[in-house]
């Protein structure tokens, strides 16, 4: 594996590792890791460092929805123009172009059901290119970003074995 792939594979799951530890663990020079990381941030290969949170446990109310959007592509710009219109709204978490029964998959986060519904009816549906929307509310998150959302697993191995 080349160094970039090694770094990315590791930090994708451990974004908090400091440079020194990262260099030790990957068996490469610390300065080289720092340079690669900086370069990859510059090139927008590394697009951000996020934290996976189970908001449900905090008591803070959040509502998440997946919205299936059918749109009319624009001459010369395809789906990009309408995607851009959609992703510029701060309430929008993610926008994907999808193959299959609809065109854009939009994920949204709001404080209440009403807030999300309002965004869809007032903002999303009124865009000229949008033909139809279908809003799916997320009831429970089981797994996100490859991580199972529940109590951390206990080590059930015997404490000392040969």
């Amino acid at each position: 594996m080349e160094m970039r792939e090694k770094i990315l594979t590791f930090i994708e799951k451990n974004s908090r590792a400091n440079l020194k530890d990262l260099a030790v663990i990957l068996g490469v020079d610390e300065a080289a890791v720092a340079n690669e990381m900086a370069a990859m941030e510059e090139e927008h290969i590394i697009c951000g460092y996020h934290t996976l949170i189970d908001w449900e446990k905090t008591g803070v109310e959040k509502v998440n929805a997946l919205i299936e959007v059918r749109v009319t592509p624009q001459r010369g710009r395809g789906f990009d123009a309408v995607a851009e219109r959609v992703y510029n709204y701060p309430e929008v978490n993610a926008v994907y172009l999808i193959s299959g029964g609809y065109d854009l998959l939009v994920t949204l986060e709001g404080k209440t059901l009403r807030e999300v519904a309002q965004f869809v009816s007032d903002k999303l549906s009124t865009l000229e290119a949008v033909m139809s929307t279908k809003t799916n509310f997320i009831l429970k998150k089981y797994k996100d970003h490859g991580t199972v959302i529940k109590e951390s697993k206990k080590d059930e191995r015997m404490l000392v074995t040969p």
């Binding site: 080590d155 015997m158 404490l159 000392v160 040969p162």
Partner: protein, 389 residues
């Protein structure tokens, strides 16, 4: 009442690990670095095959030697990874873990008085198994200055006219030592010259960090005098499935199979179906886990260096074996104090043979966070010990 017990069994010492386990179990919220099994779960697709085999009602015995399908996959695997060709029908048998294979190989090969050379520090079962098989264990003390590899000189010094079998426990538990091809060649030469046989326990063969593992069975003239033992526990994180295998000359496997047939019948069927999947589609999982272990290994070596703890760099298994000789206390004392004062459990080197005195086995089958926490505590302990001196 007459004494119901066999003198020979009573005479065998229980594993030193057991004693330490009892102490650790008493200690609340200790961090253990004492485990000899992977921290990963068995990859899901392998578990899924096990579940599927149960759903399909495959709950019968398999043939004594194991599913033919599995033996064929084992043959393919060994050919692909080690370049050795075994006949799946006559030269491979599936066992209940590598442990069973060690036991029955010795029972099939030893007569009373036959000497078994056992390099130590090593896995706790070889010596008792040799005794149970009426053999005479002869221990070879491996040395730190050789990175705990077996040298031709050490072997030569231990060979007598009664020597029948040499145990080759590499990659090694507890030291993490590996034998490279050049090291093995020197051993093979002596083995052939003195007409002895080899039990090569290669259960950690997928966990090497320098080069790919080389089996002594792949050297010229060695396949016919080697019982190669491997299994699924370490490479595929399948310890609880209890599945291993032995490969060797038909003549020996046939006799081992006889013991297996009467004592065991056949290895667990569910595990065998899961193992077929492991061998067919598990290479990527093995590589992923190896990469993770390697990162932890480098991290541990770095931390030892920082705290000035002497440790040769091990290139196999998931153990490091640092020296604590500078503190002038025994391994057991060190481990006991580390446990009571810092609540970190490590295994004294002496659990793996007397020559493990002055060393500790530290397992890195743990998450980096846990290793970090444990190493911080160990560093504090080491600093305090040095202050006492």
């Amino acid at each position: 009442m007459r004494n119901p017990l066999s003198e020979r069994i009573v005479g065998i010492q229980p594993s030193g690990i057991r004693k330490f386990f009892d102490i650790v179990s008493e200690m609340k919220d200790a961090i253990s670095l004492g485990v000899g099994e992977p921290d990963f779960d068995t990859p899901w697709h392998i578990r899924d095959e096990g579940i599927y085999s149960l759903e399909k009602g495959r709950t019968f015995y398999t043939s004594n030697a194991g599913l033919k399908e599995l033996r064929t996959e084992i043959a393919n695997y060994l050919n692909r990874r080690l370049g050795i060709t075994y006949d799946p029908l006559h030269e491979i048998m599936v066992t209940v873990g590598g442990s069973e294979a060690i036991d029955i190989a010795m029972r099939a090969m030893l007569d009373p008085g036959d000497e078994v050379l056992i390099p130590q520090p090593s896995f706790v079962a070889y010596e008792p198994c040799a005794i149970l098989a009426n053999g005479v264990p002869v221990v070879i003390d491996l040395k730190e200055e050789n990175e705990f590899r077996l040298t031709a000189e050490e072997l030569k010094a231990a060979i007598t006219p009664k020597t029948k079998l040499l145990v080759m426990p590499f990659p090694n538990n507890p030291t993490g030592a590996v034998m490279e091809e050049k090291d093995l060649r020197a051993i093979a030469e002596l083995v052939i010259e003195h007409d002895i046989f080899v039990l090569s326990d290669e259960i950690y063969s997928e966990l090497t960090y320098l080069d790919s593992h080389v089996s002594i069975a792949s050297l010229p003239g060695m396949q016919e005098r080697t019982i190669l033992i491997n299994g699924f526990s370490k490479a595929y994180a399948m310890t609880g499935w209890r599945l291993g295998y032995a490969c060797g000359p038909k003549m020996i496997i046939e006799q081992m199979l006889k013991i297996h047939q009467f004592a065991i019948m056949s290895a667990p069927t569910t595990s065998q179906y899961a193992a077929v999947e492991a061998l067919r589609n598990g290479d990527e999982d093995v590589a992923r886990m190896r990469e993770e272990y390697n990162g932890r290994r480098r991290y541990l070596m770095h931390r030892f260096q920082e705290m000035g703890l002497k440790c040769f760099e091990p290139y196999g298994a998931f153990y490091v074996f640092p020296s604590i000789q500078e503190f002038g206390i025994t391994s057991e004392e060190f481990a006991n104090r580390l446990l009571s004062e810092e609540k970190v459990a490590v295994v004294p080197g002496t659990a793996f043979g007397a020559c493990g005195e002055g060393f500790l086995r530290i397992s890195y089958a743990y998450s980096l966070e846990q290793l970090k926490l444990a190493l911080d505590r160990m560093e504090a302990f080491v600093t305090r010990l040095r202050g006492e001196a």
